[in-house]
């Protein structure tokens, strides 16, 4: 799968979950890999680009999660 498309899928998953259930990195890897029939490592590489760019961030509250950064 095209990486940009994969990144879009990941972002939309996090977006759809916002305010409902916080997702851990592992939740995202499992879900997207299963839905798209991909290896987790491929999803992980795409997720890492999103995090490196600051499009998604790690947050911590009683556990580490992936979220959309708050608007300043």
């Amino acid at each position: 799968m095209d990486k940009e498309q994969l990144k879009k899928i990941i972002y939309e998953l996090v977006e759809a979950s916002t305010g409902k259930k916080k997702l851990k990195q592992s939740d995202i890897l499992k879900k997207v890999a299963a839905d798209q029939g991909l290896e987790k490592d491929e999803v992980k590489a795409a997720l890492r680009e999103l995090v490196d760019a600051g499009t998604l961030i790690f947050t911590y509250f009683g556990g580490s999660f992936i979220e959309i950064p708050p608007k300043q």
């Binding site: 259930k21 916080k22 509250f61 009683g62 556990g63």
Partner: protein, 358 residues
């Protein structure tokens, strides 16, 4: 701030080898034996015949850069610029000739450092952040350590005990730092349940994870308020919900306090590593010197000094005399809180008719 250097990621820590004293580097893996020379110094002897002398001082763990620079300068002057820190937040200086020990110790003592902590003594106290930096602290850690060690300093600098006595302080039951396996440990405890701020639970907390955080299933949903409620009789005040949901503050200045647990160890020598067990369920927070706590610690230590055989750790001494005797020897009251009703409770009940009268 425009002139920042280029950041790098995932480089990991620098390799330890470049921080090793030349004698340590040369004799890496070749050490043959060691001897404790004084309460604050020891020598390690290599198969090559080389020797490295270690001089140990206490630190309060909370260090200003001033003090770190001073330590570094001392290391530069006396030790070729090498030093290390121990797991228990002691600082160690190295010299390669016996004659260099005295001037080093003199300078350390002149500058107010407490030299000692090696051998069958009280070493530095492992502890947590407390009121200096922690959101869930039920007591301060640095202040308790200071109060206790001021009282017991001679067991760091000179006096010998039957064996080492490891003291630790944790400012809440999260117990950052192996407090649960120490000879004598203090732990900050709450005595009252968290208070629920319904409006903020609704806005800041995930209700399912807040419910899941409770080890005794005391928390349930309160749908009308989009919040949670607590079955008070089930709550054992651990504060785990507060770690997950900040709208459930648990601190209570009058009722937060200090529990004392004793008899734990991590070393395998003679007997298996053991958990510390409850000696005192609650003493008041009475800063700045916590006199009730320091008194109880001294009672325990004095009973150990009076009763322990050579090489017995606190837990081994108690194991030999029995816990019923421990409460007698220390004159600490045995209360309903001492009887376990948690996960491993039944393992702790006395299933024998053999015990001592006290």
């Amino acid at each position: 701030m425009s002139e920042l250097p280029q950041r790098q990621t995932d480089i990991g820590p620098p390799h330890y080898e470049k921080f090793l004293h030349p004698v340590i580097k040369k004799n890496y893996g070749k050490w043959k034996y060691h001897e404790i020379l004084t309460p604050g110094s020891m020598v390690h002897v290599s198969e090559t015949g080389d020797k490295i002398y270690t001089i140990r001082v206490a630190s309060p763990r909370l260090l200003s850069t001033n003090t770190i620079r001073e330590m570094a300068d001392i290391a530069t002057k006396h030790c070729g610029g090498y030093l290390r820190f121990t797991t228990r937040n002691n600082v160690e200086f190295f010299v390669d000739e016996e004659g260099k020990i005295a001037p080093l110790i003199k300078e350390l003592q002149d500058k107010g450092y407490m030299v000692g902590g090696i051998g069958p003594r009280i070493s530095n106290v492992v502890h947590t952040q407390g009121w200096i930096h922690c959101h869930s602290a039920a007591t301060d850690a640095s202040g308790l350590v200071k109060a206790i060690m001021d009282d017991l300093s001679e067991y760091f600098t000179t006096k010998e005990l039957a064996n080492r006595v490891r003291i630790a302080v944790a400012c809440c039951v999260n117990m950052c730092g192996a407090v649960h396996c120490s000879d004598i440990a203090l732990v900050g405890v709450h005595k009252t349940p968290p208070r629920i701020d319904d409006e903020n639970v609704k806005n800041f907390c995930e209700v399912p994870s807040t419910i899941a955080s409770c080890p005794t299933s005391a928390i349930s949903p309160d749908p009308s308020k989009k919040s949670v409620k607590i079955k008070l009789e089930k709550c054992m005040y651990c504060g785990n919900c507060y770690s997950v949901c900040p709208a459930m503050p648990i601190s209570d200045p009058d009722n937060d306090g200090v529990a004392i647990v004793v008899g734990g160890k991590v070393a395998n020598l003679r007997s298996a590593p053991t958990f510390s067990k409850l000696a005192v369920p609650w003493l008041p927070n009475n800063p700045p010197r916590w006199p009730e706590v320091t008194d109880a610690v001294k009672k325990i230590l004095n009973a150990y000094i009076a009763g322990a055989k050579k090489h017995e750790r606190v837990g081994e001494w108690i194991g030999r005399i029995g816990w019923e005797k421990f409460f007698q020897e220390t004159a600490l009251p045995f209360t309903i809180q001492h009887v376990d009703d948690f996960t491993f409770a039944r393992e702790t009940f006395r299933t024998t008719a053999a015990f001592k009268w006290t």
